[in-house]
């Protein structure tokens, strides 16, 4: 049997590993340098091209365009959510005809470009002026803003219907059965048991859809609506100044990033009971 008779004397710490220069590090620094260069170029473009007159002239127009974009998107998302309800239920129903019609609607609007839908509604339906005048709908299809809104609503309703359907069907069957076993009427079970669970699942896709809508809303500028993109194009066509586009990029990035963070916060808050 041996016993330790003396302690090991203290030793210096082992030499720290040499920091190697890896290929990844070089690439990272190169790319970051490129980003920094672009950022400097952006700032320089704005600073060098700064003109008080231009700012005073186009600044308020940009803000107005921003307001147009936001109001258009908010209206489209809300109306689209309303329209998506019957579509989603038709999609889930056992009725063959309803199911097929809803499926066709969703399929068509999800697989054609928003721009083509907008053109079809604004230019296409706009060419039926006499008929529309007799029906009394010409005031609606005459305005590019209304046509943009209509195409956005139809488009986002198709996407939102799929989101809603997926979310409702993701709620386990046992939840329905449990509610039925407790004798809860179907409508109340849906409203108080199924929907809350479904909306948590749907939150992230809904957020993505809103962001896609904000980005997609830029297409109305092509049919002469002065949203943020439209004002940008107007300013560019007057000044041929590249920084008009940079300002638009800053605005869009700010909106999308702010929205993304708000949605992430909302999701973390609403799902806090699911965290372990």
């Amino acid at each position: 049997m041996t016993a330790v008779s003396q302690l090991i004397p203290p030793r210096p710490a082992p030499a720290s590993a040499k920091r190697r220069i890896t290929g990844a590090k070089v690439a990272a620094i190169a790319v970051l340098a490129l980003w920094a260069l672009l950022a400097v170029a952006l700032v320089l473009t704005v600073v060098n091209g700064w003109e008080e007159a231009k700012f005073l002239r186009y600044g308020p127009r940009y803000l107005h365009g921003l307001w147009t974009t936001i109001s258009l998107v908010v209206l489209a998302v809300v109306l689209g959510a309303l329209l998506s309800l019957p579509v989603a239920f038709a999609r889930m129903s056992n009725n063959r005809v309803l199911n097929t019609v809803a499926y066709a609607y969703v399929y068509i609007f999800r697989s054609t470009p928003l721009l083509a839908q907008l053109f079809l509604i604004y230019y296409g339906l706009g060419s039926f002026r006499p008929q529309l005048e007799t029906v009394g709908l010409w005031w609606f299809f005459r305005e590019a803003w209304y046509c943009g809104l209509l195409s956005f609503v139809l488009n986002t309703a198709a996407y939102q219907a799929e989101i809603l359907r997926g979310a409702i069907q993701s709620v386990p069957r046992g939840q329905h059965e449990g509610a039925a076993a407790l004798g809860i009427p179907k409508y109340i079970a849906f409203r108080k048991i199924i929907l809350p669970q479904a909306l948590i699942v749907a939150l992230r896709p809904y957020g993505n859809e809103i962001i896609l809508m904000i980005k997609g809303s830029a297409v109305v500028s092509i049919v002469t609506v002065y949203d943020l993109m439209g004002e940008t194009r107007y300013a560019f066509s007057r000044t041929f100044d590249y920084q008009t586009y940079l300002w638009a990029a800053i605005f869009y990035l700010a909106i999308v990033e702010a929205l993304r963070h708000v949605l992430a916060f909302l999701e973390a808050r609403l799902t806090r009971h699911l965290k372990r």
């Binding site: 470009p113 721009l115 296409g124 297409v219 990035l253």
Partner: protein, 264 residues
């Protein structure tokens, strides 16, 4: 031989060939002369637009996939700075509207090339090709979304797979090519299918910078013939057909990629 093949292709042309949709439609239907092929109708112009749309999407796909793959690699690297660089890229290009990206790249490249040429003392107005600008802009957008899909696919592959590669004495590149990539493709394919369908739709934005793709060609036809609804309806149907064909094709590809998995 090449003459034979070109004859075969023109005979099997699905839009303007002898049994093409536009030719049949133009011959059979009363109003159909609008999209007849040749001088009378707009069929051949629109068929050209379809080719440009498909070409744009097909050229963009590999470029976007390669850039997206590199960015996904960067985003999961151990090097913090590289992750930061990749994060900046995806944040910017996923936050900008595709239309704005297209304009920024179209005009930005022109300014850049002009500046470089002016540096060498060559002062002239340069206009870059709309197709090229479209490919650059769409692959930038595509790659930033593809990197997210590929990144989540990378995360789905267990770390043991890399270690097994090391244990077999495979070089890092070979581990990636022989062990990781085949699994990565299988996991990422549904996401990439979605991105391809989005890419097909995004090609329509290139009409805004004057590229003669489906929407621009039908737009010209609509303006000249004053049959806007008819032509834009045709444009929508063409996009719908392209999407349907590619989703069927990609469905086959997916089941092919999954052939080694257990059937349930």
């Amino acid at each position: 031989m090449s003459g034979f093949f070109s004859a075969l292709f023109s005979a099997l042309d699905p839009l303007c060939g002898p049994i093409g949709l536009f030719s049949l439609f133009g011959a059979l239907v009363d109003n159909g002369s609008l999209i007849a092929c040749g001088d009378a109708g707009w069929g051949d112009e629109i068929a050209f637009g379809v080719k440009i749309t498909i070409g744009l999407a097909i050229v963009t796909l590999p470029v976007g996939l390669v850039i997206g793959f590199l960015i996904a690699l960067a985003a999961q690297s151990e090097e913090k700075l590289l992750r930061l660089a990749a994060g900046i890229y995806t944040t910017i290009f996923r936050g900008l509207p595709e239309l704005l990206t297209l304009f920024i790249i179209y005009y930005g490249l022109q300014i850049l090339i002009q500046a470089v040429f002016a540096w060498f003392g060559y002062e002239e107005r340069i206009e870059i090709n709309a197709f090229f600008a479209g490919v650059v802009a769409l692959s930038v957008v595509f790659s930033s979304y593809a990197s997210e899909v590929l990144l989540s696919a990378f995360r789905a592959i267990p770390h043991g797979q890399y270690e097994a590669g090391d244990a077999l004495g495979l070089h890092r590149g070979r581990t990636m090519r022989l062990v990781i990539l085949p699994q990565l493709v299988r996991i990422a394919l549904p996401g990439l299918t979605n991105l391809w369908l989005i890419l097909l739709k995004d090609t329509s934005y290139a009409s805004a910078i004057g590229l003669a793709e489906i929407l621009r060609q039908t737009g010209i036809a609509a303006r000249v013939s004053k049959e806007a609804f008819f032509f834009y309806f045709i444009a929508c149907m063409l996009y719908l057909t392209l999407a349907t064909i590619s989703s069927v094709g990609l469905g086959f590809l997916e089941s092919w990629a999954k052939r080694s998995e257990v059937r349930r």
